[in-house]
Amino acid sequence: MIRLGTLFWLVLVSATGFAMFGVKYQVQALEDELARTNRAAASEEHELRVLEAEWAYLTRPETLEAMNRRFLSLGPIATKQLHITATDIPLRPPPAPTALPVGPPAVVASAEPAPAGSAAASAPEGVPISQPAPPETAAEPPATQSALRAMPALLEKPPAAQLAKTVPVKAVAKPGAPRRAKSLDDLIAQIMTSR
């Protein structure tokens, strides 16, 4: 009869042996994977370098200029376009909770939340903003809501509220801003006079 102790050690030895080989193969597999990954990373790195070079080649100033001439026809910034800096543009005035904002500040208030305001700001100089632009007449829920929230007094007046329902942005713009900016110059002039 084999003694229990011997059996125990035998089992332990073989278990250890198996475990060790198991770990060894696992490590080998991991090492292979690591080498594969490293190779893949190196080749990606190389591809990245090629792509970067290609990007630099495709965005050469002369290519960009040719594409600009074809698709955008943007010109160099004229000096007169730079007379106003970002700091010259006033911040939006705080909303007046009690009364309908009357007078120049409303021009800013009404021109800014509407999408046309931002479009006007980014449009090249001299390009007239189409009078009631499509996104303006089509009811734009978020803009309208914020505009209405800013002027609760408007909601209290039944005729104005009715107007707001049908042509919301126009209704907001009408009492405060009788004149809509026709161009960027115009808009800037308005802003300057309102200060």
Binding site: T37, A42, R49, A53, A56, P61, T79, L82, H83
Partner: protein, 593 residues
Amino acid sequence: MAAAQPYRGYDENPCRPRHFKPPPCAPVIPEGPARKAIDACRTRLLFTSILFACVFAVVALRVVEIVLLENGTAQSHMPRFRIAAPPAPARADIVDRNGRLLATTLDSPSLYANPKQILDPAEATRKLVSAFPTMKSLEVYAKLTSGKSFVYLKRHLTPREQYEVNQLGIPGLQFQHEERRVYPDGTLTAHVVGYTGIDNAGFAGIERGLDKALKNRREPLQLSLDLRIQYILREELQRVIDDFTGKAAAGLIMDVNTGEVLSMVSLPDFDPNHPGAVDPDHPDISIADRMFNRDTLGVYELGSIFKIFTVAMALDTGTSTLTSTYDASHDIHIGRFTIGDYHGKHRVLNVPEILMYSSNIGAAKMAMAAGGQRQREFLARLGLLSAPKIEVSEAAAPHFPAKWREVNVMTIAFGHGVSVTPLSFASAAAALVNGGVLRQATLLKLPPGDVPQGQQVISPKTSEQMRKLMRLVVERGTGTMAAAPGYVVGGKTGTAEKLSGRHYAEKKLLSSFVGIFPINDPKYLVLTVVDEPHPNKQSHGYATAGWTVAPATSRIIQRMAPLLGVQPVDEALPEIQRALMVESLQGKRLEAY
């Protein structure tokens, strides 16, 4: 036999079956010396096993410690499992000040053949020539039948070409891993970045000047160049050449407060990707001419723009003041030379007017009043009598007379007799307007806010006076066409006659303009030089600086200033007018003199 064996063991039972063996049991150890020996053995065994057990226990404890207790530090015991760093390119990239790629290294395998392994040279040749139309079939066939074991067929294949060769499936063809320098912007930065040879050794420009550094670093080398500005400068210079059928042009834009070169253009230029190739548009221009960097290697008698140094010297050394007057009504005859004025006023001129109307006679007299010694020292102090120090390998030493005679003093006063590189000129001119500090020009980007140590060459007061005078030139003098409304440009025109043989040729001009803006708080310097411009209809028969490079400078400034964030100002603002007012002229009309 039985008597000889005191202990019989399992043979005791005579009736036992033949296969029976009694279970083993500890041998009966006899008393006496044998017992002693066995005891000693046992004790030794016990010691040894305890020793082994201890060692194994230590090993086991160490394993437990490493794996469980020392959190993460076990990593240091596995050096070979570290993730390999991506392979470094053989040469660092070069980027501009905004990180835009100017030069990079890409893998480009070379195709070679082992002719001993080629089975059918004729067939292989036919296939190769069909894939690469530029190859000559005779040559390829000769190579493939040469009997060597290594012949290059084509160096530096593109990925597409490599794919095509693999498609051909010719045994005996192999690729050799090689790297190749690629310049995505081609000619645009050719003279600054330079180029490398087939084995990636730097041959020109930064590639040569900083060859070692590029070989040894991993991260890209950042230049002070701004590719956008470089493009603007090159385009405008090319326009000047085209409009006035000039031979060549050079341009330089520099940050006057740090010495960083934002742009450096020399025309005609070359494609660093194919440095030896002939330009199909201008096959008559030699390769050497196109590779010649006119900004750092070309030395020129720059002419009238040198007068700013004469005036600065006279004002700084105190030999003249802004109110000093010099008689410019008659030409000066000295030796075989006659010094006359191009924009002659034929009257007594004061110092601001000498610069405004670019009077050669006035400048010569000013220099004579100061003396040759002072002039020479002053030019040396501004670094105009020594080769410029710059990162590119091409830097030419100036030409100046060994003996500083009277006639030299006079001609040098208006820029003839001393030939300098445009780069040296730009550094010195920047020192005149930036408060009087001469800083070495650099092509490497400085960390933001880092202003390198400079050398005070003129007093801040003289520098302020120079700014005012240079503004006057653009406001009412010869450089009115360089004005860029809103950017308060100041500068100086220079039209030099080129020396041909022993005489100055009147028809061969070198027109140059140095512009600084905004002159009330100088930021950037624009130097443009055009070689042999010819008059055209728009310029009313003039090829002088005022009509050629001055308008170009205006256009360059108007295009580059918004990119560099220079805010235009209203030039009529009283504080700017006051800052640029020339005291000596206060309340007097210039023409009243």
